[in-house]
Symmetry: C2
Subunit: 499 residues, 2 copies
């Protein structure tokens, strides 16, 4: 009777040891920041993708020609979406850096963080105002007020954390130059808000200057990097500052926390995958009166009108899900997310956010052959870009494979060929579908649907297919097929593949 108890008590013991340090801290009201950061990541990823909704909800009746005014409206909304995505990812990166300095939180910091999040969620609205009324300075004024508020809250967080040094990253806590650090961090945090303060002033009498200043704020990290690079080329390499100081810059020089990149990406994928169900549940339940009058009481007939919407939903969910799958497989083999990989990831996610749009267009235009062709092509293009940027993350990681990749995914590793195939599948499939629509424009929908059905199966059978392809490759060269999976052989087997 004692043996069956073992598993639970073993679990208990494991739990105890893992929570031992947590218990210690929790006693003083100090907490590890992990859960707060995941919550912030979830919030930020939703905000980043929210602005695709006005784009997908742009109503275009089938009779209406796809004219200039609609093109302009769509372009405007897409611009808002991309700007929002950019600014939120910049805010997210700054948040990541900030909580690399502040290692632990207490109640006050958690509440300040919530205030910061609330202000960030207001940013998309200011962009909508800016783009709808580019000549009225109110939008940019509100934007500046938001940025200043965010900066103020973040400065408060820093001041508070430095006042209670046990909340800081242990490295800074132990440092003798703590006051210097504080000034440095505060300086970087308040740089953007200071510029925005000037921009808010300009917005009252000369708004074009505000737009210029705003662009400076958004691209500040990149600008500062470019400046320092130019300087070093002009006056020769400067004496490097103490390294530990550099570690806490908010520039994009340092690798981002891999966990937070994953959490943010997960949030974006999850919200994008379910965006269309939001619409379906609300709009696609037929009215009881309509069913009686128009469809003679046949619910099935009434629902079949919405058929394309359901197809669009499943198509978009499957594509987003599989792209998540590729992302998941990729990050499983990544050890560190460098600056450029983070940028590529953001670009990939921005296109992923556009997928619901593409699929909704596909279903909306299903009746008109000419527009249908166009929307199938747009869908293919969006899928292509979303997946090719994932592939680019992989190639960038391969350039510094020792630091960035797990051994098994490096050149010659066991998983290298599979990884390559996984990430190349969507770019190839979408490119193929796009090309096919050029030659067989009459069958564009069929081609698109074929791709949608074929790709998930290709993912399921990927391992088999890759092995088959390698076997064929080696058979063609007239060599014996080495056993895949044996560490030593796999190097000799896989090295020639990327050539």
């Amino acid at each position: 009777m004692s043996a069956p108890q073992t598993p639970e008590s073993a679990l208990d013991a494991r739990e105890d040891s893992s929570t031992a340090t947590r218990e210690e801290d929790a006693a003083d009201g100090i907490q590890h920041s992990h859960r707060m950061l995941s919550f912030s990541d979830a919030l930020l990823s939703i905000i980043a993708t929210v602005m695709i909704l006005p784009v997908t909800h742009t109503e275009i009746s089938p009779e209406q020609p796809f004219d200039k005014s609609i093109q302009k409206l769509l372009a405007t909304r897409i611009a808002v979406y991309l700007m929002t995505f950019l600014i939120v990812t910049v805010a997210w990166a700054a948040h990541t850096r900030l909580f690399q300095v502040v290692g632990k939180i207490d109640d006050t910091l958690a509440l300040l963080n919530l205030a910061c999040m609330m202000t960030i969620t207001f940013l998309p609205f200011t962009f909508s105002l800016m783009v709808t009324f580019p000549e009225v300075p109110l939008g940019i004024f509100l934007f500046c007020v938001c940025v200043i508020a965010i900066g103020a809250v973040q400065a408060l967080i820093v001041v508070y954390a430095f006042h209670f040094p046990h909340l800081l990253n242990p490295q800074i806590e132990r440092s003798t130059h703590r006051a210097l650090y504080r000034q440095h961090v505060l300086g970087i945090i308040l740089r953007g808000p200071a510029l925005c303060f000037a921009a808010a002033g300009f917005s009252l009498f000369f708004y074009p200057a505000s737009y210029l200043l705003m662009a400076t704020v958004v691209f500040l990290p990149y600008l500062s990097k470019a400046t320092s690079w130019c300087k070093s080329r002009l006056v020769g390499p400067r004496e490097p500052p103490p390294h530990s100081m550099e570690f806490f810059t908010f520039d994009l020089h340092e690798p981002l926390s891999k966990e937070r990149v994953e959490a943010f990406s997960d949030g974006v994928y999850a919200i994008v995958a379910t965006l269309l169900i939001l619409d379906i549940c609300e709009d696609n339940v037929p009215d009881a009166k309509d069913v009686k009058e128009k469809f003679h009481g046949s619910l099935v007939a009434a629902l079949s009108v919405y058929g394309p919407h359901f197809l669009a939903y499943f198509g978009s969910f499957a594509t987003v899900g599989l792209l998540w799958f590729a992302h998941h497989s990729l990050f499983l083999h990544i050890r560190k997310a460098t600056q450029s990989m983070g940028l590529l990831n953001t670009l990939s996610l921005a296109f992923v956010g556009g997928l619901p749009l593409a699929y909704q267009q596909t279903s909306a235009f299903a009746r008109q052959p000419r527009d249908e062709l166009e929307s199938v092509r747009i869908s293919c293009a969006i899928i292509f870009f979303a997946s090719i940027f994932q592939f680019a993350i992989w190639t960038t990681a391969l350039l510094h494979e020792r630091e960035t990749l797990q051994p098994s995914a490096r050149f010659g590793g066991q998983e290298h060929a599979f990884m390559f195939a996984k990430l190349a599948l969507y770019p190839c499939a979408s490119l193929l579908a796009f090309t096919c629509t050029c030659f067989l424009s009459r069958f564009s929908t069929a081609i698109f649907h074929l791709m949608q059905i074929a790709v998930p199966f290709a993912f399921l059978l990927l391992r088999l297919l890759v092995r088959l392809a390698l076997a064929v490759l080696w058979a063609l060269r007239g060599l014996p097929v080495p056993e895949l999976g044996a560490e030593d052989d796999s190097r000799s087997l896989l090295l020639p593949a990327p050539c």
Copy 2:
């Protein structure tokens, strides 16, 4: 020059050790399931809360009387929301149990899981159909098809995992009764779908029976527990089955994984907090033509029309954020989430999901004094129930404090009084506001806004207030005030408080 390198290499070392086991497994394409589970949690939490949108979007013009037809529509939609929430949390709990059996994943399992998620996201739509057309059996038929599909995919996952035992929980992997386990787990998984198969059959000729069967499926875990309890009372306690066998039942007997409860709750809080911004960004940007014609070109005047919406957004975000904060503090001190705590958490979350509705109603009715009073009361009631269920989690945890709580949060622990105050704040404030509106009905909006502003400050100053209250309490009793924070004294200080 070597010293500054230390922090980075220290980080590297930490990273290396934490990823050592991961690297090992990744080499075979086997992965820890952590990230896939968080992604599933995010998806499921979004789906669970999605159906509040049709409720919030119910359009009620200020002129229209709040009559029967609208009440019926609202009631219908709220019923759909609650049913969806219930069924998704049941599916989530089953998913949690399933991946307690399957400890690791590979590509095939990740893809199967995606298929499972896709089917679950379709469930809310079937509920909408059922409620809108209760007499047409199509809704229930589709629901049954979905449940059967989910069951089939989950059975596939189990069969696959038992075919490659290294994917299983190490405890089952090592067990000698593996085949027995498989049968047991499969039996539990396929119980629901089998009932649904019968329900689908009935729906074709006698649909009321299907509804009965459907209810059985949803409440199956509770029913089976009630049955076993009755049986044990009637025939006396049965010989308990081998304990390790019980460990993997899918009933609600076992504690849920605390991490997954947190992740699911975080998802719900995050999506609820941002639901209103979705609407604001889309609907509350005034039209350029309107601004020119109606407001003589004044954007500020045009925006002020939407003032109540913004207020509603900030109010709802702050409330949801602070409830998240209370939840976060609570779970920081919880070691295990038992069955009843999980149920209470679900109930709390269901009310949290209703918050956007409450706030939107507050803003929509702002013009009509009578309706305003009603909606302020509804808001207070929703906040009260959301927070009182959190409080109930805490009291339930206190009943078994040795297993469920960290030492510092137990009776007499240092954090006990703070925790109590944190969780009691919202129930008290909402109850107070509700009572005030009964006496001072003319000032109901003012009271509600006052509450909204006061509560965040109360949270900020909580520690101070609690210490003050305790000091006053002890001064009244004429005793010297003990130092809070000293382990020995705190017990004597805090024990009388709950009496």
